[in-house]
Symmetry: C2
Subunit: 70 residues, 2 copies
Amino acid sequence: MSLREIVATNLRHMRHAKGLSQEELADRAGINRNYVGMLEREEHAATVDMLERIATILDIDPMEFFRKSS
Amino acid sequence: MSLREIVATNLRHMRHAKGLSQEELADRAGINRNYVGMLEREEHAATVDMLERIATILDIDPMEFFRKSS
């Protein structure tokens, strides 16, 4: 499982846990609305700057994006 | 401390721990030689694809890039 896949899976899971749509998350994080969807579909490799912004909105440690499901 | 700074600090530390120069690490990871230096100088936001390649060469879990020093 690639790191991009792990990020996509974790992002979707944590976004749902907060009850946010892709658009809501993007708007709150101040990032492009398409960007969140591209990350969740593994079409784009997230940068650390974007992961930091998203983590702030989701109120998580950025390390959680890289956590492999057990 | 921004996530970009945390990545830069951890990357430099872990690269030194393996006794690799920026150029050696870049060559082994198959990435541009300038890229590693740019990450360590916080001039560029690493993508997860690049962190994954570098982590493989350094033999670490990619989560370690985001670990805050205690």
